[in-house]
Symmetry: C2
DNA sequence: CAAAATTATTAGGCTCACCTAATTATATTA
DNA sequence: TAATATAATTAGGTGAGCCTAATAATTTTG
């Protein structure tokens, strides 16, 4: 398995390829907040492990294997971000936190989180009501009046 | 701020003190899955930074500062664990994942997660219904029949 | 196309958290 | 209390991922 750091590089390469059409040393360095020599070193590791196509002084592309890992990590990232945003975390902070958390979750937790996001997205009305209650709670520190009444038709 | 690893040690010490009444080198080593010399080294660091009281060949205790950090980390851990368990992740795995995730969240996300858990725990009936829908969805891969009908009194 | 500018790589070092093996201190028991 | 067992520490080393400074390749421009 790719280490946490290698996963970060794969994800950055994946995003760079999508956004810019290429992934060069300096771009990745800047995206990840590290210096160019670190990137060169990691490119070499990623190549050795079969995740990227890398020839010195040329840009990199993902192998099939690399793309799979990157896509997985990226999906996990997106779902963690969505979840944090449901919790009213700002998009910017949610994105940052997702970067770190994405490497820490087990398959089991990832699966359940995926299901959870899927669930939320597939039952908009019901979910929106419940989440609105949470938003109210988050903002006011107490349950919304309608909720406290156990009635749920007049809270809008 | 304490590094991720130092936080792990503080948390382990905190738990050991609570569970066993003391925190010795070998106990912490075994709890954290590392060898004794690593613990000695970290104890020294934690002492230098004012988190623990440590004299060679004696057990350790937490300073006020250390206890605060440990308690915070521990609370975050508990809330992440609770959240994962809401998502039907097994308690064991939820605990493991919480260990890793607990160091990755920003203050903002921690605050919101705390609110979320508080919210869930404070509105049992309403929440239970929604979570039951998720449990059904998680188990069957589709929304429960009552939910699909947009009626919510006959789904039990 | 040569000089300059840019981009990438190599060389050599650093820190962190870990390890094993050897040593020293403490605790137990004959 | 001396011998032994246990527990903790020191000494010395490793690998991962980062750094700066120096060098080499590529690209751009006069």
């Amino acid at each position: 398995m790719a280490t946490q750091s290698l996963e970060d590089y794969l994800e950055a390469i994946y995003n760079s390829l999508n956004r810019r059409g290429h992934a060069k040393t300096n771009e990745i360095a800047s995206d990840l907040g590290v210096k160019a020599p670190s990137v060169t070193e990691m490119f070499d590791k990623l190549r050795k492990e079969g995740f990227i196509n890398y020839k010195k002084y040329e840009g990199v592309t993902l192998t099939e294997r690399g793309r799979e890992v990157a896509k997985d990590v990226s999906e996990v990232h997106e779902n963690i971000k969505k979840f944090l945003e449901l919790l009213q975390v700002s998009p910017k902070q949610a994105d940052k936190d997702a970067c770190k958390v994405e490497h820490s979750l087990s398959e089991e937790s990832i699966d359940q989180l995926n299901k959870f996001i899927d669930f939320v997205e597939r039952c908009p009305e019901e979910e929106a009501r419940w989440l609105k209650h949470f938003d109210y709670f988050s903002a006011h520190g107490e349950l919304p009046p309608a909720h406290r009444d156990k009635r749920d038709e007049g809270e809008e």
